[in-house]
Symmetry: C2
Subunit: 382 residues, 2 copies
């Protein structure tokens, strides 16, 4: 009997998609449904920047490969934007265009982390980052930060988990899932820690434009020699399906990342890059201003109805529901939600949060989201 | 002085892009240029299946995320096609839609190969496969096959390189770069060997539709329990820039691959998947028939001019130029080519072939390619 071939152990040890069974049940429910577990937007991207707006007659060869680093026009638009937003000297060779921020962080982890090395991850975190580290054979080390009262406590929490194997520190601000915006002093303390300990600083800034309270801090301005910042047209302009994002960092590091991106998705889609350039040079800012106002309004109303503080940024609320759980625990709560056509994301997807749930307040039009929030409020009231 | 953080050693050991310096020089040459080093097509994809043909009015939400496995309509079209072409029982759960065949093979290597394990690769090979194995921390082991006179010699060549660490065997037929189509008996012998030795069989079949002599053999029909077959809309329908392809294999293996794809590019672009479904259900076969006839004609003419046998399949010729090298070696030859506005790909990109070059006869319109071939013929004549 021949041996059956096996799998990469770090991959076979990963749990599969977190919501898929519940999401399938939700899809089969009659009536209006509230898929608030998804992190996406209900808004279509700006007119003029949609796939239908890019024609072969004007862009011959637009279905052919793009250069692996990115198309020159898009790279130039990104460089101009990054310089203007961050004030940091930035050249084209410091930018890599990727298949969304997922592609960016895949290339970052693949390029910087050797098998068995550790990545410190501020938690709660964007759920894919932990799996990216694992899929590329590294070890994710969550560092809970919600209860830290200031930058000293945050640095102490990171230090507690630092080992000889630590090579990078990941932060995501504005934060998915918590809606928190890390204050400048906190990001400064993390940059200082990274410099002192010789760590890469992986700064996931895909919600940079969605800040409702406080101000976004660009980590690269604080430690340009060791920061890789990732961005996404998905979150900024409602283009998640385009699979286009980018990473900015030191030239030598970006050259390493490019080897991994070339060998995991080759290049970002050509039409998506044309759309990215056009949105940056055209209606992007206006679209963001409109989206941001709507997102903020919905987020504020949702938070008020649920009795929690309004989000400072991003498109999410993260609720501690421990007071509302019965013997069925979080699974029982999700079950009660699905029975009422609502799906929310379970806390453990975001780190050691067994009694939290996340909801996205931009995945459906505001009136639908708020009806879903009403259902959730009723369920939590019990 | 703080330590400077480092890179993943397997990635930092990889050489960077092979042609980029020469390609940049080519781009700056005056007059008509012959970029025959690129593997792409000059033909635009079928009308009705271009980005401009997918409108938000008809496809609301078409810029949002697609499901990580692929869109249901595309999965169904792929399943029907695979069943019809291969005769192998195939369910949706055995298919994963990816960012081209590069995304497919990244997910395959990431999901199946643990760090340090070896992948046997029939050489000459598609140049990215070696880097994919390295980027995911595996070890590529080339197995030259051009001089094998039959399946027994091929099996012996593989066996010679088999170790305790071997987990997979990669073949690419129709072959990039050699234009060879592996005869059925050869693929059968490899499948039998894989079964006996407990190896995964990684069958890269992106040129399945481009066979000019002989017949394509679907490896999955021979060893469905251990074969992962990869395909691409890029090569089949001139959609390389769309970044869409797929892999078909055992359900349990595909579930492992999906974890890696989710964590390296998330999902294939949504509009590209709409285009994929439409081309499979519509003008795809007619487009392939037209493209195939043109490709064959150009390939045959190019081969005749260069005095080599016509290609059996794919879009490439692979020439042993050892008789035409002076003390400058292959680098000197490439240099002479660039000075005459021509770029070809160096043999070492495809395995242990220090005296070969590859040219693609479909990357520019036939008359341009043939003018480039004329230049090459003159250079080789010396």
């Amino acid at each position: 009997m021949p041996r059956h071939p096996s799998y990469a152990p770090s991959v076979s040890g990963m749990s599969s998609s977190l919501y898929s069974a519940l999401a399938e049940r939700l899809a089969s429910r009659p009536g209006e449904v509230y898929p608030l577990h998804v992190g996406d937007t209900w808004m279509e991207p700006p007119e003029g920047c949609r796939m239908e707006d890019f024609r072969v007659a004007e862009h011959p060869g637009m279905h052919r490969y793009a250069p692996v680093q990115g198309m020159p026009g898009l790279l130039e638009a990104i460089v101009e934007r990054v310089r203007a937003k961050t004030g940091v000297a930035t050249e084209r060779s410091q930018v890599l265009v990727t298949t969304g921020a997922t592609g960016a962080l895949g290339a970052i982890i693949g390029g910087l982390v050797a098998p068995g090395e550790e990545v410190l991850i501020l938690a709660p975190y964007w759920p894919l980052i932990s799996g990216i580290v694992t899929a590329f054979h590294g070890r994710p080390v969550p560092v809970p930060f919600l209860d830290c009262e200031g930058p000293e406590a945050l640095v102490a929490a990171v230090r507690e988990r630092l080992t000889e194997r630590s090579v990078a520190l990941y932060l995501n601000t504005p934060n998915n899932p918590s809606g928190r915006v890390l204050p400048r002093g906190w990001v400064e303390a993390l940059a200082e820690l990274a410099r002192r300990e010789g760590l890469w600083l992986l700064s996931d800034e895909v919600y940079e434009d969605y800040v409702y309270e406080g101000e976004h801090t660009y980590a690269r301005a604080l430690a340009p020699e060791r920061t890789l910042s990732s961005y996404s047209f998905s979150k900024a302009y409602g283009m998640a399906g385009n699979r286009c994002g980018y990473v900015v960092g030191p030239e030598e590091a970006v050259a390493q990342l490019r080897k991994v991106s070339t060998h995991s998705f080759y290049s970002a889609p050509t039409a998506a890059q044309l759309a990215g350039e056009r949105v940056l040079r055209g209606p992007g800012d206006a679209w963001v201003a409109r989206a941001s106002a709507r997102y903020r309004d919905t987020g504020t109303k949702a938070a008020a109805r649920l009795g929690v503080p309004p989000p400072q940024g991003s498109t999410f609320l993260f609720l501690d529901v421990s007071a509302h759980l019965d013997e069925g625990g979080l699974a029982g709560l999700l079950e009660r939600c699905v029975e009422r056509n609502l799906l929310v994301a379970p806390g453990p997807s975001f780190g050691p949060f067994p009694h939290h749930i996340r909801l996205c307040f931009t995945c459906s039009p505001p009136e639908v989201v708020l009806r879903g929030v009403e259902v959730l409020a009723e369920i939590l009231r019990g």
